[in-house]
Symmetry: C2
Subunit: 146 residues, 2 copies
DNA sequence: CGTTTTAGGACATTTTGAGTCCGATTTAGG
DNA sequence: CCTAAATCGGACTCAAAATGTCCTAAAACG
């Protein structure tokens, strides 16, 4: 019951991209160093983000990555699900649609509500919100690195 | 990002106990068969529930398990956390209290809100609610086995 | 062409999930 | 007291998932 490192790194990576001047691109190596994320792991994560259409990749010398959408249009849930796959708590319906609990079992109903609780929180906050919140924190609580 | 089988089985086991006449006890073997849960796995899960004070165990011949509290006094979250350990999404504060993000980082804040979303749903529903909901479902959507 | 950079897949390692097994302990009943 | 019936607790196994690493290919710039 946790968000994986991969998902977390994905969000951090996108936060990094979102802080660039619009249109500017940056390389995996840069992001990796600045955010202290293992480079080849981050590379793989970015591949998922590209496939999900959140990031634009430019190959070859002078290439790199850039955000493909406005940060305010990217709910954090979308980032995490792009990396981790869809969040689904409830099991019986997904394993087999003709689940023995068909018609709904109380437990599955509850799990679905719990899942919606997570998703709601992760949907309400966008990448833009996250950056703005971070700036507010940095302002009132300054620290050398970052 | 899921509730584990162990947690799920724990809730199912307690639902089973809660359906007994008050004061009545039942054996692991009985619960295991009726709910189709591997016996020795369920045994281990029940140990956690006993330690958490949700279930009373009676050892020796003629022993078994019985609910230790009123089902209406048992939020499902309590069951799941008894079995799985506490639900904590956020990682930096727990790995080391002097986390580099001290003072709060935006991402941890978000994860905390997501976590609260799950916990809220699992706290609001009690074991008694779950059983009542299940009865309602069984009524409108009858099926042979259970 | 050669260098830089992403793409993609195969591989390695560690942790977690999901059980199993077995000896110890407790208790009821004969 | 002895035995059968239960839970207790820990060690163990096995598989899957998380977390990376590595290497070759492909693309693009100069």
């Amino acid at each position: 019951m946790q968000i994986t490192r991969a998902g977390e790194y994905g969000v951090m990576g996108l936060m990094h991209l979102a802080r660039l001047r619009p249109g500017q691109r940056t390389m995996i190596d840069e992001v990796s160093r600045q955010e202290s994320i293992p480079k080849s792991f981050l590379a793989k994560i970015f591949q998922s983000l590209v496939k999900a259409g959140l990031v634009r990749s430019i190959r070859g010398a002078g290439g790199g990555f850039a955000l493909a959408k406005n940060p305010a249009q990217i709910p954090v849930l979308e980032i995490i699900e792009a990396v981790e796959g869809r969040i689904v708590f409830q099991r019986c319906k997904m394993d087999r649609p003709d689940c023995e609990h068909a018609g709904g079992c109380a437990l599955c109903g509850l799990f679905e509500r719990a899942q919606d609780g997570v998703k709601e929180a992760l949907t309400r906050t966008t990448l833009a919100d996250l950056i703005q919140q971070q700036e507010a924190i940095d302002l009132t609580h300054p620290r050398a690195h970052r």
